[in-house]
């Protein structure tokens, strides 16, 4: 779940993304639904309540996907999901393949976005999510092959807007 205002929240579920609104007399209610029936693994609400926002989907057979809305959820379009670079022969550790987008974060001024993934890579975008680059300073750390836990039994990367990165694995 994520919030961008005291009266609005987004809830990611395996059956879609639900936009919740709180009214003084109605309490919390579902205001809109998005991607009904599809697993939504992460959402980044628009800063300040309006504008660009992101949703990450896990379509199972067809992989992890990234959707963007420039009207706070009114309409959506797909952006190319971040992709790991070509894996060197013999590279140890998890395959260099995007399994799931675990979380999304932005700098306070939206100048930079971060995206944490299974199998543990951190991606950054400097163009509002149109393209992503793997943070090699983290990915190339030799201890990465020892990471474990996190999510679904695999390493997961969860960036914090304040600290930039924080793999949850131990």
């Amino acid at each position: 779940m994520s919030t961008s205002a005291a009266d609005r929240a987004w809830v990611c579920t395996r059956k879609g993304l639900f936009e919740m609104r709180h009214g003084s007399t109605t309490g919390w209610r579902i205001a809109r639904s998005h991607f009904l029936g599809e697993p939504v693994s992460a959402v980044l609400p628009p800063l300040g309540g309006g504008g660009r926002m992101f949703a990450a989907l896990n379509l199972g057979h067809f992989g992890a996907k990234l959707q963007v809305s420039d009207d706070a959820g009114g309409t959506w379009r797909e952006l190319p999901a971040p992709a790991y670079p070509e894996q060197p022969p013999g590279a140890e550790g998890a395959p260099w393949k995007l399994v799931q987008i675990w979380t999304l974060e932005s700098a306070c001024d939206a100048s930079r976005l971060w995206l944490g993934t299974l199998p543990g890579g951190l991606f950054a975008s400097l163009d509002h999510g149109e393209t992503w680059q793997l943070d090699r300073s983290l990915w190339d750390r030799p201890e990465r092959t020892q990471w474990m836990g996190g999510g679904k039994g695999r390493p997961a990367c969860i960036p914090s807007a304040r600290t930039r990165a924080g793999p949850t694995s131990c």
């Binding site: 067809f62 190319p80 992709a83 790991y84 894996q87």
Partner: protein
């Protein structure tokens, strides 16, 4: 020339042609030609490393594709390729 047909399920999510024809002698060449027309389709069939996704299955003239990494399976001039989602779960 070889033809590739994509499962209609893909069109729920992405702009995918019903089929694509190309002068191709390997599976990868045929798929690459289809992805030129529909670039976003590539990520639905192949993963980051260009391998067939684990739960996608490809049949060439009725036989299951065996080379899911290099996609070097040979195609005949009249080959028909089907790209489907594999049944899974229980």
């Amino acid at each position: 020339m070889p033809r590739v047909l994509f499962t209609p399920q893909l069109r729920r999510f992405v702009d995918a042609p019903e089929h694509a024809d190309a002068q191709a002698t390997t599976l990868r060449a045929l798929l690459d030609s289809a992805f030129l027309v529909a670039p976003m389709l590539r990520g639905y069939v192949l993963d980051d490393q260009g391998h067939v996704r684990p739960n996608v299955v490809i049949f060439i003239d009725g036989r299951r594709c065996t080379d899911r990494v290099r996609l070097a399976d040979a195609l005949a001039p009249d080959s028909t390729v089907h790209v489907l989602q594999a049944l899974s779960g229980g």
